[in-house]
Amino acid sequence: MVTFLFTFILLASIGVIAMFDLFLYDRSLLAILGANIFFEKGTSQWMLYVNLLVGLIYGIVVDYRYRKSKKSSKSS
């Protein structure tokens, strides 16, 4: 659930940002989405993606542990 909501919130937020950019600036949807999803080479934006990866892994671990504890409580 944590992983699912993490992914959903991330994509929805990117959608919101893209919507506003589309409203304000004369750029195509694909260009805006591309700029929001991928990082610009030569900048420090890679830090954000590494950070996101940490968040994703954390989410997967939390989900796994939650499922495991649920299973063990059922079996006992």
Binding site: L5, I14, L24, M47, L48, Y49, G55, L56, Y58
Partner: protein, 370 residues
């Protein structure tokens, strides 16, 4: 629901949180520029209207004591529509939190850490916020209690120091209402009413956890008045020190004003004091919005919000950088799109829509009990 803790906040902590939250980023960027030298009057008018908005939020919460706005949505509209509204509010809270965080990052990158990447500032700030929220709402309340005296006294001292330095020109405040009341009202709606006063919507997630809920109404109104007075003081300080034109052009007018301080040719460059005020204000403001989003996720997924602190925190730092390419774009979006398309619907229209349904439903259930 498993492991979900009930947290409590004292009334004093609630007062401080609202006070710091309201001043937060409003102290960083200039507000009420449309009213020019009457910006302080516009803030005063917005404060009075803001009291009404805060009262409306309290009325909504008081119909179902102990339940936050998202739980009230579910009560009024059922699980699915209530869940959908909650999801929209989660996105709204996260978006605004990332905007507020971006304000601070821009300030730091422009004035203090000029060669440090903005991404690094955003990530480290979110780490602090994540840690505080992971420890809970009570820790956030206590932290604000500790720092409040510094926060309050530094703002007052900056004004006094600028005055003693002889940099204030009170003629800048005249003519009062020279262009009539129209520019003032233009500044009030939607900008000043929604930012910062309408942003109290995030407190609909916190007020239900006050120890004495019945007294929370008085405390909330008092905090709105106190923060409004502080913002008026701030605006007068900026207008008299910088003048209308310079204030409108300056990205961070409070910081520019503080740079004018020169006491005894010894106490100068007190920028760091302003950075402290702003940093603490922003930490509290982002935390409150982030907490609101986490409480929404808790309700939707039926799992404790602490599980989401780290993953959603990483999204927050990501969004704060990706939200706009540069500061000019960030401000343009903040002035044109956000007030009309985000603040007005989420702060005013949706709560106004909920209110009659809630009144009708709670009256019906009370009659049923009788």
């Amino acid at each position: 629901m498993k492991n979900i803790l009930v947290e409590k906040l004292s009334l004093w902590q609630l007062f401080i949180l609202i006070f710091i939250f309201e001043i937060g980023s409003a102290a960083v960027v200039s507000t009420g520029n449309d009213a020019k030298q009457d910006a302080w009057i516009a803030i005063g008018v917005a404060m009075v209207l803001g009291m009404g908005v805060a009262l409306m939020y309290y009325i909504i919460l008081s119909r179902l004591p102990g339940k936050n706005l998202f739980e009230i949505f579910q009560f009024c509209f059922g699980k699915w529509i209530g869940g959908l509204l909650t999801l929209l509010y989660i996105l709204y809270f996260l978006y605004i939190a990332s905007r507020v965080l971006r304000d601070f990052c821009e300030l730091i990158v422009s004035f203090i850490f000029e060669v440090t990447p903005i991404e690094f500032i955003a990530i480290t700030m979110v780490f602090v916020i994540m840690y505080m929220l992971y420890l809970g709402l009570e820790v956030m309340g206590r932290t604000s209690e500790v720092f409040m005296p510094y926060f309050f006294s530094f703002i007052i001292i900056i004004g006094i120091a600028v005055f003693i330095s002889g940099e204030m020109e009170f003629e800048n405040l005249f003519p009062i209402l020279g262009d009539g009341f129209k520019p003032v009202m233009k500044a009030v709606f939607p900008q000043l009413l929604t930012f910062p006063f309408g942003e109290l919507i995030a407190f609909t997630m916190i007020i239900p956890y006050a120890t004495k809920f019945k007294k929370a109404k008085k405390i909330t109104i008092l905090a709105v008045v106190a923060s409004g007075i502080m913002l008026i003081y701030n605006a007068i300080l900026q207008i008299t020190t910088l003048g209308v034109g310079m204030r409108a052009r300056s990205n961070f007018p409070l910081l520019s004003s503080a740079r004018e301080i020169s006491l005894l040719e010894f106490i100068e460059r007190v920028d760091l004091v302003v950075v402290f005020i702003v940093m603490f204000g922003i930490i509290i403001k982002v935390s409150v919005f982030f907490y609101g989003a986490l409480k929404g996720l808790e309700l939707i997924s039926n799992r404790p919000y602490r599980m989401y602190v780290v993953p959603i925190g990483t999204i927050l730092s990501f969004l704060s950088v990706k939200i706009s390419d540069n500061f000019a774009e960030h401000i343009e979006e903040g002035l044109i799109v956000v007030p009309l398309f985000m603040h007005v619907p989420f702060q005013l229209l949706l709560p106004l829509m909920v209110l009659p349904v809630l009144l009708w439903k709670t009256r019906k259930s009370k009659e049923g009990r009788k």
